[in-house]
Amino acid sequence: MNPDRRLEIGRGDGTVVAVPGIALLAVGDDPPESLVEIVRAAAETQPPGRDLARRLAGLLTGDHADRVPAFGAVAEVDGGLLVFLYGSVDATAVHDDGTALRLAGSDATTWVDRVLGLDHRVVTIASEADPVSDETPFEVTSGIVPAGWLRVIVPSSAQAQAGLRAETPQAPAGATPVEPAEPAGETPVEPAEPAEEVPVAEEAPVAKVAPVAEVAPTPIPPPRPVDQPLDPVAESTSPLPEPEAAAQSSTTEPTVEPAEPETAPVTPPPIPPPPGAHAADAPSADAPAADAPSPEAATAQAETDDPPTEALPVAFESFSLTPDRGTFRAPLPADREDPTGGTAGSDGDDAEVPERKMVQGIMCSRQHFNSPDSAFCSSCGISMVHATHNLVRRERPPLGFLVFDDGSTFTLDDRYVLGREPESDPLVQSEQARPIALEDAQMSVSRVHAEIQLIGWDVQLLDRGSTNGTHLLNERGDGWDRLPPQQPRMVAPGSRVAVGQRTFVYESPQRG
């Protein structure tokens, strides 16, 4: 945990994993490596709580969730402590005013994810089957230690410490952490601006936060109502009105299947806020703000005996600007004409440059490489009618670009996975595709939602079994066709696509 915190553990049939900012109790004596890895990886971001919660949620929704034992974790977040419980593990948090809040992992079908304000001074995590023992606890800093329960003590609360004096730890011999974690590289300096500390109401129901898009009971419709014609003037909320979308889609003849009206939401209801969406993004947003201590109270701390309420210093890491050995690059190459096409003047950072596939195509009279079906050169616009249609094999040039509703633009020279957490996809992890992370306040985008594939000279769209679907605006521009999951569909330049509530347009330099 944070050096200011005390972490105590007691005997029992479990394992405690402690790293800077995180303490986790797993039931059983052999926590899976995946769980330990997640704790270590999350500790690289300080404070680690949010990153930890995201990673744990990924683990618990992943393929090997059934191998994860019950566990409970306490971790630092800005202005509070995260409590994350899965399975038959309980947490008890003692508030400054002496009241206690009890959370139980078994109260949730998925898991419990809760942020407590810093006015909770003592947080205890124990297995339901293995309650807190009476013996004198051990104090640990970091490592992996056999233990049955853990307790995090937030310092400088007179009340909380008074209640714990009897348990002042005396580390017995043998309590040394068996496997010290790596020391944290950062030094917390002075506190950032006092984050408003928002205590969580005691009577608030336990938040059951699941990746909402995956469990949302009602699919969220795609963004544009089907019964409204495309009207760029009326479209004040979308930055990308697309009057030409339908017209342009006729420039190439896609193998578009007939529209499936029964799958398209007809009159989309207003989007209901998905349950838990707020809890996932801003855990304390709905807590009574009136109880929040003012920043003045924090500065007055030195003069009074009141329990201090200062915010946690948010650690920052300032790194050396000396380049690492071996990262120096060769000078950029000259931009000369390259007979293999396309690679002249490439950037130095080869790791980020995908290897381009070889495809067959034709050359325009100015020696630009084009699709065999092109009527005009995509580079210079010259007519291809009189070009010799000799097929040649070259590196495939980029097939255009995607412009998202927030203005971010991606070039189509590689495969992409789109989603809320596309990095979790094996294709991205194995570098077979790049991620496009789509943030979405309405949680309409699944973790791994859709995929863009480049096949020959074609761009294909694939829904990856998302909850809210991947939709293609139809050729008339007045309705959305939902793609059947896992079935690639070719998209034509100018097509507009909805990924949950997020949209993008596929643009291509084809000149018509």
Partner: protein
């Protein structure tokens, strides 16, 4: 936003393509003898991988010893937010000057930016975001600031959508279309910057600024046109740098700098 790490942020200097610049007091740990620095705070929560890549790029930038390149003092992240601190210039930039520079200084500032770009190229780094707002005014000339990080933050990304739409005026269209950034990318941007500084107009006429997609289409489909208000020498240098084929442009940014120097001397 009042603080990031141990910087007190005093005032915003405007938004760039992936974050906002602030003027700030430097923390004592840097041991600087200046009382102001420019701190850029990236507007996105980037992945660990992205932090690593941005860090590498900034380290390379900092390792380039070139008097025309803005000094990078510090970089880091706090709570998932990336920041970096650079030299601050009270005369502002070509995009937002404290007082409008004379033609001679505008020429010299772009020539200096070209020398800095060349130094970056020799270190294997393409700048990717040369524009008037990144050409700082100093000592009668200029210094090149910042780096384009869209592609570094998310591989394949060419525009983050965070900055003003108008900045695509300086972006080589081939980059939007997916070609890799190279020397010629920055040569193009230097010419578009010089054109704006000398004529006050864009090489594309009025770029529609209602939405990015329309603006991107305009830039990709409109051949650049050099303003009538420029001298024949200025116009021909700019046209050379804006040649559609990369191999038809000046081979290096250093060559561009020499030619702009000649224009400045001829004034």
């Amino acid at each position: 936003m009042r603080r990031i790490a141990d910087y007190e942020l005093e005032a915003s200097l405007g938004s760039g393509n992936h974050g906002e610049f602030f003027v700030a007091r430097p923390p004592g740990r840097l041991g600087l003898d200046v009382d102001k620095v420019a701190v850029k705070v990236l507007a996105l929560n980037a992945s660990d991988d992205a932090f690593r890549r941005v860090g590498n790029e900034l380290k390379l930038f900092a390792s380039v010893a070139c008097p025309q390149l803005v000094q990078l003092y510090d970089a880091g992240h706090q709570g998932g937010v990336f920041y970096y601190a650079m030299e601050y210039f009270d005369q502002g930039s070509l995009g937002r000057p404290a007082t409008t520079p004379q033609r001679r200084q505008a020429l010299q500032a772009v020539a200096d930016a070209a020398r800095a770009a060349h130094a970056l190229h020799e270190a294997g780094v393409a700048h990717r975001d040369i524009k008037p707002a990144n050409v700082m005014l100093a000592n009668g000339g200029g210094k090149l600031s910042d780096l384009g990080l869209a592609q570094i933050l998310s591989p394949g990304q060419t525009v983050t959508g965070i900055g003003p739409i108008g900045t695509i005026e300086y972006m080589e269209p081939a980059l939007i279309l997916g070609e890799r950034a190279g020397r010629a990318t920055d040569v193009w941007a230097l010419a578009a910057t010089l054109h704006r500084a000398l004529s006050g107009t864009s090489i594309y006429g009025a770029i529609p600024d209602g939405d990015l997609l329309t603006a991107l289409r305009h830039v990709v489909q409109t051949p650049p046109v050099v303003s009538d208000g420029l001298s024949e020498e200025e116009a021909s240098l700019i046209r050379w740098c804006l040649a559609p084929e990369r191999s038809d442009r000046p081979a290096t940014a250093a060559e561009v700098a020499q030619h702009i120097d000649q224009l400045a001397e001829a004034l």
